[in-house]
């Protein structure tokens, strides 16, 4: 075991700036995908609940098409597929677009579930106090829906952060792409993969930790 292999962490130390740059791009993709995906999710949930049949059906079709195939398929579709139609999205745009489309579908269902979990009586109570539709939505529905969806959202956002590691396939220079490059260049696979594992663990743990704190705050507020 480990014959002739000596750990050399200096290999990682030497390329720290490159790694940091990669991490920054990873964070960029992650944050953008989460923010835009949430927008898609809220819009999608409202569309799913729309009284217009066509709108509701379109939203449902969108959700099923996205959820039943890998995010990587959408990345390839946009990056390798659209050019044959004369559209040339760059790597970063393709990556974010694919992650937003894919996870927007999950968030649609999460937000819809959060809305559905609000008891009908809450709306009736608000109405009985003389609140209008918008006030009811703002004061009663939205805060409660937010409470309901946080745990599931947290899971989905962790998936997004992990999925950024796939965007290297589109030659996005994100963190794991840099790691792969360095492994080929230095053959220091053990060192680089250990660092990568730890970095991702810290990222995902702090993300879900932050959301859990937020959740605890909300519970306390109740």
């Amino acid at each position: 075991m480990f014959e002739g292999y000596f750990l050399y962490w200096g290999a990682v130390w030497d390329v720290l700036p490159k790694m940091a740059k990669g991490l920054l791009i990873t964070l960029e993709i992650g944050v953008m995908s989460i923010a835009l995906g949430l927008g898609v999710g809220v819009a999608g949930a409202l569309a799913r609940n729309s009284s217009r049949r066509a709108v509701a059906t379109a939203a449902l079709v969108y959700v099923e098409i996205m959820r039943n195939s890998p995010s990587l398929v959408k990345m390839y579709f946009i990056y390798f597929g659209l050019p044959s139609l004369g559209i040339y999205p760059g790597p970063l745009l393709s990556a974010v677009a694919a992650l937003v489309l894919h996870n927007g579908a999950y968030m649609t269902e999460i937000v819809r579930g959060g809305l559905a979990a609000i008891p009908r009586t809450q709306v009736l109570a608000a109405r009985s106090l003389g609140m209008g539709t918008w006030t009811t939505f703002q004061v009663v529905i939205l805060p409660q829906a937010f409470d309901n969806v946080l745990p599931s959202l947290s899971n989905n956002w962790v998936e997004i952060v992990k999925d950024t590691s796939l965007t290297g396939a589109l030659s996005v220079r994100e963190f794991f792409h840099v790691v792969e490059e360095q492994i080929s260049a230095t053959l220091r696979s053990f060192e680089f993969l250990t660092v990568a594992a730890v970095v991702y663990l810290v990222l995902t743990a702090s993300l879900s930790g932050a959301l859990r704190t937020a959740e605890a705050r909300i519970k306390y507020r109740r």
Binding site: Y5, E64, R67, F77, L166, E180, L193
Partner: protein, 222 residues
């Protein structure tokens, strides 16, 4: 004819690899997950803590990084794998970890009163588990298990990044040759949907069916 030999045939060969890989992963992962899940049910605190840490790692580190770890790190221990075997091992380990979590959740979701009632009519511990707890846990496990199956089938796509010639890699090769990116990726997208959507429907039916009979679903993947 050229359309067939140039595009459809290679994709089908890739699909065969995907199906083979997915089948192995689902079978091995389910066996491992159920064994570990049941073990969790009867294990002491040390084993439980170890299993919790393993589950945490499998959830917090991107699957692609886990695959690379298996590919690059196991050779240090004298085990050398082909790309395909690496894929099977890494994905099955991941599958086992996540399914363990689902099984554990299912066992915990059985209300404590069921245990009391079963013991009070004279069942031994083994009978309590076999006749009352596991059947109820199984029912609540099934829907999230199927969701997880869909997740795992989709996850096999990342193995293309390891050079295993499954459908995604086959697709990229065809695109390089034919430049028909849109058609190829649309077809792959369709194929994944054709595999995953029926499973999703089955899972949803089961869940609705169980809920109607008053079983509660365990928590699983969102």
């Amino acid at each position: 004819m050229e359309w067939y030999t140039g595009m459809v045939a290679p994709l089908m060969r890739g699909l065969l690899v995907t199906v083979e890989l997915a089948t192995l992963v689902l079978v091995l992962g389910s066996i491992g997950g159920v064994l570990f899940g049941v073990l969790w049910g009867i294990a002491g605190p040390v084993v439980r803590a170890a299993m919790t840490i393993a589950i945490m790692l499998s959830r917090g580190i991107p699957l692609l990084v886990q695959v690379f770890i298996v590919f690059f790190v196991l050779p240090f221990f004298g085990v050398e794998f082909t790309g395909f075997t690496t894929a099977v091992v890494a994905l099955s380990l991941f599958a086992a970890a996540t399914i363990t979590e689902i099984v554990r959740g299912g066992i915990l979701a059985v209300p404590h009163g069921q245990m009391d009632a079963a013991r009070s009519v004279g069942f031994t511990y083994y009978q309590v588990m076999r006749i009352v707890i596991f059947p109820q846990a199984f029912r609540s496990i099934l829907p999230p298990l199927i969701t997880q199956f869909v997740f795992l089938i989709k996850a096999t796509s990342i193995i293309s990044l390891l050079g295993v010639p499954e459908i995604m890699l086959a697709g990229r090769e065809v695109i390089e040759r034919t430049l028909l990116g849109f058609q190829v990726m649309a077809m792959i997208w369709l194929i994944y949907t054709a595999i995953c959507y029926p499973l999703t429907i089955v899972g949803r039916r089961l869940e609705a069916n169980f809920q109607r009979r008053g079983f509660r679903p365990a928590l699983g993947e969102p």
